[in-house]
């Protein structure tokens, strides 16, 4: 067996240019695949990250039916202790309540329909990243009354600045129209300008006065310590609430946002399509080069058979050659991909040129590549497997050579 390995390895370098071409084909294919994988993952993670940080959090508790019909009437009774109790569940890092309603916000210049969200100023920063997005003024603080924080695009659209007054008009619990005068205390900017344009925040206390839903919430947002265990923690919360609060439902961010889920599926499907295209192209290259190698060595293969090498052993030698070429190609392509991925994961890929399209999806302009250990392994193993599978036919052809014709082959 060692002789076959030696034979295969040394045969690789008999035709250096041919071997280098095959190695380059495998390396470039694998390099492209891994880099695409990393950037695609980066897109997904940024998209999910933006959604979780801005709106969804990891888990939400809502009244049954709220997600299908997110109106104030589908709110539920909950005090601050309720959030604190949820924080006791293993894996929950923070929980904070919200009340959301569609309102009309007007300045001296313009009116706009927005999603007004009443938040707990102390807890909001623990479950979302919105407070950290404040670019002017200050985010809501405990005790703030009649203060509103606007998205940058909304503020621009209304023509207001810090300190200006706006009127918020909403339908309260009794279907009466209420209007409130609020002062702009802060302006924030996120990676999703379209969301900025329709978002504004006030304290829960202010919100309760506007909509007359005292002591009620439309959702409790929950952040977990380990994102990989979101489903498990959601299940724990469900079990915890099952007997006591059957009126509530617990949903993960993926369950709340089917569009996000579909976007992720779309990206993942593209990755598999890319895999298929790359590996098909690689396979045809391998088949071509290995067939040439077999034809070139027809005479030698005939001699091998003449002295007693079995067809299976001939096939083995050719497969070993291809496998070794594959390993070298994988090593070269994988190393290059690792280097580029290391750079892109740290410095990111600047896609500012397409910023408007990216902003539509809530993705920042700079994407950081990300590949998990399992994905690295999958890429390497699948590339090597593709090479070996592609070389089966040339190897089989080599094993089927007629001995006497092969010996006489010039």
């Amino acid at each position: 067996m060692r002789t076959f390995f030696a034979l295969a390895w040394r045969n690789l370098w008999r035709n250096l240019s041919r071997s280098l071409i095959m190695i380059a084909g495998i390396a470039v294919g694998l390099f492209g695949l891994i880099v695409y994988f990393g950037i695609s993952n980066g897109f997904i993670y940024e998209m999910v990250d933006a959604a979780i940080e801005l709106e969804l959090a990891h888990i939400q508790v809502n009244k049954q039916g709220y997600l299908k019909n997110p109106i104030p009437k589908n709110s539920f009774a909950a005090d601050s202790l309720f959030s604190e109790r949820l924080e006791q569940i293993a894996g929950v890092e923070a929980a904070s309540g919200r009340f959301k309603a569609a309102v009309l916000i007007s300045s001296a210049e313009k009116s706009s329909r927005v999603e007004l969200v009443g938040v707990d100023p102390a807890g909001e920063g623990l479950v979302t990243g919105i407070p950290s997005l404040t670019v002017e003024g200050e985010y809501l603080q405990p005790g703030d009354d009649r203060k509103i924080v606007l998205g940058g695009e909304l503020a621009k659209s209304l023509g207001v600045e810090i300190g200006d007054k706006v009127v918020v008009m909403a339908q309260d619990k009794n279907n009466e129209l209420q209007s409130f005068l609020l002062r702009v205390g802060g302006i924030f900017t996120s990676s999703a300008p379209s969301w900025d344009k329709t978002s504004a925040f006030v304290s829960l206390e202010t919100m309760h006065r506007i909509v007359n839903h005292s002591g009620e919430l439309t959702s409790i947002l929950i952040r977990v310590s380990n994102e990989d265990t979101v489903d498990l923690i959601a299940e724990s919360i469900r079990k915890s609430l099952a007997g006591e609060r059957p009126d509530l439902q617990v949903s993960t961010w993926l369950e709340i946002s089917p569009i996000l889920s579909q976007s992720i599926d779309m990206f993942n499907n593209f990755v598999w399509i890319f895999y298929l295209i790359i590996y098909l192209a690689m396979a045809f290259g391998v088949i071509n080069i290995m067939l040439m190698a077999v034809i070139d060595r027809t005479h030698e293969l005939g001699v091998m058979r003449a002295v007693g090498t079995t067809p299976g052993q001939v096939m083995l030698v050719v497969l070993l050659e291809a496998a070794m070429l594959g390993l070298v190609g994988v090593a070269v392509g994988g190393s290059a991909a690792w280097l580029l991925n290391s750079y892109l994961s740290t410095h990111g890929l600047d896609l500012s040129y397409w910023s408007s399209g990216m902003a539509f999806m809530g993705i920042p302009n700079v994407i950081h590549s990300e590949i998990r250990t399992g994905e690295w392994a999958l890429s390497f193993i699948s590339a090597e497997t593709a090479v070996i599978v592609a070389s089966i036919w040339p190897a089989w052809r080599a094993s089927r050579l007629k001995v006497v014709e092969a010996i006489q082959f010039e």
Binding site: A6, N11, E300, A306, V307, G308, P311, V403, V404, I407
Partner: protein, 232 residues
């Protein structure tokens, strides 16, 4: 040394090559008997069927009709797999063009057939060195074929051919690519191996100097064995 025991019997062997619609008869009914230990040559002009006869006897090709009985086994009725096994176990080949594996050293080339027969590596290495020594090439053990002369390569090929103590060694024009001195040395070696190892040698040639060294000469012409000194 000849033992008188029959090792090979060929009866009415025929082989026809077809190229498109053209049929070329290579053997037209060859009869041949070879005893164990014989040192025989098949001679004839180019195209008379020498290589075809050796290929059929060696199981590298199949006849159109006739029988080949080697050590009691009908080679003409064996499958490809069985022929492979018989070649590996009982038949050694020496080719006109040496046909050493270019990426293996002289030592590894000699070891190759023993490796196929699963001889343990230490034992096959020892035996391969002994064989190279017996062909005066011990010091070239780690050289590759491109670093050896034609004569040296052919001696390595002979060492490879007898490495597994085959019952029969078939050599197809083994001296064709060698100068006179190398050809003479090769024949000395083959005779020595025939005497010392008892392997039966059947080689083809059209070189009269080589014919002179054979203890038995089989004349082939136009695919038939001539009756003069052709065997039993």
């Amino acid at each position: 040394m000849q033992s008188g025991k029959k090792i090979l019997e060929v009866r009415n062997l025929r082989k026809v090559y077809r190229t498109g619609e053209v049929e070329t008869p290579a053997l037209r009914g060859v009869d041949l008997i070879l005893d164990e230990g014989e040192f025989a040559s098949v001679v004839g002009p180019s195209g008379c069927g020498k290589t075809t006869l050796l290929n059929l006897i060696g199981g590298l090709d199949a006849p159109n009709s006739g029988t080949i009985i080697f050590e009691g086994v009908r080679l003409d009725q064996c499958s490809e797999k069985e022929l492979s096994r018989i070649r590996l176990a009982h038949i050694g080949f020496v080719f006109q063009a040496y046909n050493l594996f270019p990426v293996l050293t002289a030592l590894e080339n000699v070891e190759y057939v023993m490796m196929l027969r699963a001889v343990p590596s230490a034992e096959r290495r020892r035996k391969a060195m002994e064989l190279l020594d017996s062909v005066d090439l011990a010091e070239m053990a780690h050289k590759r074929p491109t670093q050896l002369s034609g004569g040296q390569q052919q001696r390595v090929a002979v060492a490879r051919a007898i490495s597994t103590d085959p019952r029969l060694v078939l050599a197809d024009e083994p001296t064709a690519n060698l100068d006179s001195e190398s050809a003479g040395q090769l024949l000395d070696l083959m005779e020595k191996l025939n005497r010392e190892h008892g392997a039966t040698f059947l080689f083809s040639t059209h070189d009269q100097r080589v014919v002179a060294r054979a203890r038995r000469v089989i004349h082939l012409r136009d695919g038939r064995v001539l009756k003069k000194n052709n065997g039993k």
